[in-house]
Symmetry: C2
Subunit: 341 residues, 2 copies
Amino acid sequence: MRIGRHTWRFANQPVIIGTSTVVGPEEGKGPLAADFDFVHEDLDLKEPSWEKAERKLLEQASQLAIVNANITQDDLDYFVGGDLMNQIISNSFAARGLGVPYIGVFGACSTSMEALALGSLLVDSGNANFVMAGTCSHNCSVEKQFRYPTEYGSQKPPTAQYTVTGAGVAIVGKKGNGPKVTAATIGKIVDLGIKDPFNMGAAMAPAAVDTIQTHLTDLKRSPAYYDMIVTGDLSTVGYGIAKDLFKKHDINIQTTNYQDCGLMMYDMVKQKQDVQAGGSGAACSAVVTYGHILKRMRQGELKKVMIVATGALMSPLSYQQGESIPCIAHAVTIEMGGDES
Amino acid sequence: MRIGRHTWRFANQPVIIGTSTVVGPEEGKGPLAADFDFVHEDLDLKEPSWEKAERKLLEQASQLAIVNANITQDDLDYFVGGDLMNQIISNSFAARGLGVPYIGVFGACSTSMEALALGSLLVDSGNANFVMAGTCSHNCSVEKQFRYPTEYGSQKPPTAQYTVTGAGVAIVGKKGNGPKVTAATIGKIVDLGIKDPFNMGAAMAPAAVDTIQTHLTDLKRSPAYYDMIVTGDLSTVGYGIAKDLFKKHDINIQTTNYQDCGLMMYDMVKQKQDVQAGGSGAACSAVVTYGHILKRMRQGELKKVMIVATGALMSPLSYQQGESIPCIAHAVTIEMGGDES
C-alpha cells in the first residue's frame, strides 16, 4: 500500500519469526552483552584474514537465525543482504553457502533496515513465505578498507566512531507470534557538505531526521506513537545534532524515547570503553535491534518501535577526490501485536 | 504473486514508460550505435577522473529517461540502482542529484535486472507510481579498480572481456503503451570454482543457465515461449559454455533465439573491435536492453523477451585471498502487450 509517498505500509504485517546476533570481544564487554546469541573472544575468529572473519560472523548468524526461527535452510525463499566491504563480499560469499536466491543491497550502515524493508516487502506482497535479511561488519576489515592498515594502530579524533564487529540477521515470515514489521520509509540522499570521514555522525544526522520527518508526515503520526525511536549509528556527535534538528523542525520527540544504537552498544562512561564517539558499522543497528530491542519487545517492555538505520555512502576514493559525504537513512517500524491504527 | 519459488509474476504488469542509454566512443563504433540516445566521443566526458565520468554517464541517462518517459523528476517515487564501483558511488552520487528516495543494490553486472526487478515489484505491489532503475559502468574506472592502473595499458588474455562505457536507465510506471514487465526470477549463487578474473564468461555461464532453468520450471514454460532469450555478458567463452549447458540440462533453446549482450555490443569480426572475448560491465546488459532490444520490441520485431543479466560477485581482494568467483544471474521478462497466459 502506497501511503504518503515514501512509506510502505505492510497490509499483511509480516512477522519477524527469528533473529540472531553474533558479536566480537569489545561488544561482549558492553552493556548489551547478555542480549547477543554468541560473543567471540577473539577478533580473528581463527580465520586467516579479517575479511574471512567478517564473513564467518554472518555465516554463523545465518545458521543461528534459521535455528531460532525453527525453520530449515530449504524453507528460505530469499536472502537480502549487504555490507561495507567492496563488492559486499561478506554477504555474497555467505549467500553462496546458503544456496538461497540472493538480493545484494548496499546502504552502508543503513543496510540493516534496507534489507529488512525489502525482505518484508517480499513477504507482504505475497512473493515469499520466508526471507532472511542480514548484514555484518568487522572492526578490522572496515578499518583496513576505509582508513589505514589495521596494524598501524593509527590515532583517531574524538569524533571518530568504532566499527562494531558483529552480524545481525532476521527472518521474516507470513505469520507467527513475534514482532510485526508494519511499515518502512525509504530515505533520500541528504548531503550538507561534510567531508570529514572521521565525523560520520555529523554527516548522517540530517539524513536520519529527514527520514523520521517523512515517516511521521506520510503516516500522519506524532513521535509519541512510538515507545522508542532509535537511530542507527549517530553516536555522541550525531545524536546531539539530531536532537537539535528535531527542535528546529518542530518534531516533538521526548529525549527519553529517542536512543541511538551507536551509544547503546558500548559503555563509554563507567567502563570507559575506548570507542571514541561510539559505535558504527553495518552491524551496529542490526545487532542492537535484533539482539537487544526485539528482546525487550518480546518481554513486553516495548510495543512500538521505529528503527532508523543511517548510512554514509562515500568511498575512500570519493573522499580522496574531494567529495562530501552523501548520507541516507531507512526507517522500519516494528510493533508487537501489529499496527491496529 | 509467488509462482514456483523464485519467480515473481507481476499481476499488474508494470510498464516501461521510458528508457535511455548513454555510451562511450567504442560503443558508438559498434553495430548498435544507432540505438543509443547519446554517444560520447571522448572517454573522460570532460571530467577530472574516470569515476566522475562514470557518474556523469548515469546522471545524463537519468535526465534523458525522465524526458523520454514524459514525466518530471518530482514524479519519481524511488530510484533503484547500483554499479561496480566500491560502495556503488556512481549511483549514490547520482541519487544525490536526483533527490529521490534511493535503494542501493549490488549484483555486479547483474545489477541492471536486479534493479528492474525490484523497481517493477514496487510498482506492481502498489507501493510506487513511478520508479527509476539504472546502472552504469566505465571501461577505465573498472579497469583501474579491478585490475591495473588504466595508464599501464596492460595486456589481456583472449578470454578477458571489455567493460562497456555507458549507462542505461528505465522508468517503470503503472500503465502506458510500452513493453510490460511480466515476471522476474531471482538467481542464487553458482560457483563452480573458477578463479580467473580474466575469464568471467566461463564463471558466469552456469549461473545464467541455472536461472533460466529455474524460470522455465517455475512458470512451466518452454524456451519457445520467448522470441529471444538474452544473457547479460557471457561473451564468446561464456556463450559457448551456456549453449553446452542448455544441451546438458535438456533446455531446448534454438540458437537463433539465444543471444548475449556482450556479443551484440561490438563487432569483433568485420570491424575487428579490440574487445577480447566481448563486452561486459554493469552497463552492458542495461544499454543493449534499454537501447536496442526495447526498440525492436516497440517496432514490433520482438514480442516476448527474457533478459538474464549475469554478475561475478568477487572483489579484487577476494581474488587475492585465493577465493573462487561466486556468480549470479537475475532474469526479467518483458512482453509487448503483456503476459496473456
